[in-house]
């Protein structure tokens, strides 16, 4: 009896919390399907009389969202792939190759992981300005091609790989490069997917950096384009919510599909240090 009572309290509290978590998403969706008049009517109505699907078409054409999408896709995919490439190579060197200063170099890199990226904002902007990269794709991508965090997680995974596979592969005539890409990487695809998904989230949602290094509309990524759009659309909340949905939806789908990788990535990264 006491246990059942406790369970009821637990489920009630959790449901209340979940409702609060979901409310903004639901309100965004509902508002995006209303007419502007329905959106501001008091008392609030939950569902519009007829669903205004045309809001999405209208919002899509009110700003170059297709362009923003392409930019975000390009930046996110190149950054993620590039970062995986540099991190996999470095993680391999740290786990499978011998070289002078290995421990020192690793310690230095780990220490750098504690530096808040925001501190580097201004000097990086100056560097890019001198390279004449401001307002180019290079500015959006190149500084993010290395992630010590990703390298660190992959190194932990590579280290757990049994040594015998490495020796067996070497005896069978595979060189290091072949061993890395044909055996080590496929064997660790779960970890690699996990860090890749975390990187995709970070890249897709990144705001301050693209805001600062781009000036022209044609280079804006989705979050930056969206804030520019707010000032144009004014008080037409249904259109604004429709546009907001454009930005959120891809990652929401990705999250629901790859949930277990995301959670594995976070817990792995933070607890096994």
């Amino acid at each position: 009896m006491k246990k059942a009572c406790k369970n009821i309290i637990s489920y009630t509290l959790l449901s209340l919390g979940a409702a609060v978590m979901l409310l903004p998403f639901i309100w965004m969706l509902v508002t995006s399907l209303k007419t502007p008049a329905e959106a501001i009517v008091i008392p609030k109505m939950w569902l519009p009389k007829t669903l205004q699907w045309t809001n999405y078409v209208q919002a899509w054409h009110a700003a170059p969202f297709a362009r923003y999408y392409l930019n975000s896709l390009l930046v996110t995919s190149v950054t993620t792939l590039g970062q995986l490439f540099t991190s996999i190579l470095a993680a391999f060197a740290f786990t499978h190759l011998q070289f002078y200063g290995r421990r020192t170099l690793f310690a230095v890199l780990i220490a750098l992981m504690m530096v808040p990226g925001e501190l580097l904002l201004i000097p990086n902007f100056v560097t890019l300005a001198h390279l004449h990269w401001i307002d180019t794709y290079a500015a959006l991508i190149v500084p993010w091609l290395a992630s010590i965090f990703t390298m660190f997680v992959l190194r932990q995974a590579f280290q757990a790989q049994p040594r015998s596979t490495y020796y067996a592969a070497r005896i069978d005539g595979a060189n290091d490069w072949q061993y890395l890409w044909h055996i080590l990487v496929p064997a660790n695809r779960t970890t690699i997917t996990a860090v890749a998904v975390l990187q995709i989230i970070g890249s897709w949602n990144s705001f301050m950096w693209p805001l600062i290094v781009t000036n022209s509309d044609r280079l804006r990524t989705l979050p930056v384009g969206l804030t520019a759009f707010t000032s144009e659309v004014g008080t037409n909340y249904p259109l604004l919510m429709a546009a907001t949905l454009f930005v959120i939806l891809p990652l929401l789908v990705l999250y629901l599909l790859l949930q277990k990788y995301i959670i594995a990535g976070i817990t792995k990264a933070d607890l096994k240090g």
Binding site: A18, M21, A93, L97, L119, I148, D270
Partner: protein, 303 residues
């Protein structure tokens, strides 16, 4: 080979593998780290020619006397002092509840984590709409309880609270996941042994869960401190590219952005970045020290 001694040849080969990561890190992390420290001491700096004609502490003196910076520090500290404990305690509570139920746990976990994968800017715009004075959902809901409409976004008394609500809402999920992982790492046998000895669930919480969870609590707290000190995206989107009414939501990061990007005062901005970094470092160290002491008192695991 793995266990061989390093040679010049093997070092050269390893360097080839490390080069892409090292070059990017050198140019975009190590150099700017040094550079931002130096830049904060430049007093006459021409960014077009990268020429420095004078050095000194003038930027820090400027910050010391700038009322805007005082406001930014004050707002940030209030923000951190409220957001960090509330987020940590709420997410710990939710994680404990999730850990206790058998059904629907993963369903709830999915929902609580949703805000974390959504663009901060995008969802802050949704909140901006929810907080709307005349037409917003929140005031409408509050009026059901007889609360008069609150001007969340235009009244300096409430706008920082609005920001705090949005940030807590967003950060919860991430911390819940960390706590769940921490709870998972606790050996079930402790609880079984305790039950056999007749320990109540409250005793189990204080004597097993709490001490064994200390390192996760430290991790979550430190992480929450660092994230909270750097809050920017939410401010920008919630107040449409301003720092709130009468700068009521001017955070240190927003101050840095304003000095750097809007006013082009690079060196003052760099100095404010150093101060922000100093704050984060000090508070993080204090938090670690506090927990370390308490972990010892509780007889928990050494950090």
């Amino acid at each position: 080979m793995i266990n061989a001694k390093p040679t010049l040849k093997s070092t050269f080969k390893a360097l080839l593998y490390l080069a892409p990561l090292l070059i990017i890190t050198l140019v975009f992390t190590i150099w700017p780290l040094i550079s931002s420290f130096l830049m904060s001491f430049y007093t006459k700096y021409n960014y077009f020619t990268n020429k420095v004609s004078a050095l000194g502490g003038a930027n820090f003196v400027y910050l010391w006397h700038d009322p805007d910076f005082h406001l930014a520090v004050r707002n940030t500290l209030i923000f951190v002092v409220i957001v960090v404990p509330v987020t940590v305690l709420l997410s710990l509570g939710i994680a404990l509840l999730l850990n206790r139920i058998n059904r629907l746990a993963s369903f709830f976990r999915t929902i609580y984590f949703l805000p974390f994968v959504t663009s901060t800017v995008a969802i802050a715009l949704v909140w901006n709409w929810i907080f709307h004075y005349n037409h917003g959902l929140l005031n409408q809901l509050l009026s059901c309880f007889g609360v008069h409409p609150i001007d969340w976004l235009n009244n300096p008394r409430y706008s920082l609270i609005a920001l705090i609500i949005v940030c807590i809402w967003r950060e919860l999920g991430f911390n819940i996941i960390l706590f769940l992982a921490g709870l998972n790492n606790i050996d079930r046998r402790y609880y079984r042994a305790a039950s056999v000895d007749g320990a109540s669930s409250k005793q189990q919480l204080t004597n097993i869960t709490w001490p064994l969870l200390t390192s996760t609590i430290v991790l979550v707290t430190v992480n929450a401190i660092i994230t909270s000190f750097k809050v920017f995206d939410q401010v920008f989107a919630l107040f449409h590219g301003t720092a709130g009414p009468a700068n009521a939501d001017l955070t240190m990061m927003y101050y840095l952005y304003q000095k750097f990007y809007v006013e082009n005062q690079y060196t003052v901005a760099a100095a404010s970045g150093i101060v922000l970094f100093g704050f984060i470092a000090i508070v993080t160290i204090l938090a670690c020290w506090y927990f370390r002491r308490h972990a010892k008192l509780l007889g928990g695991n050494q950090l």
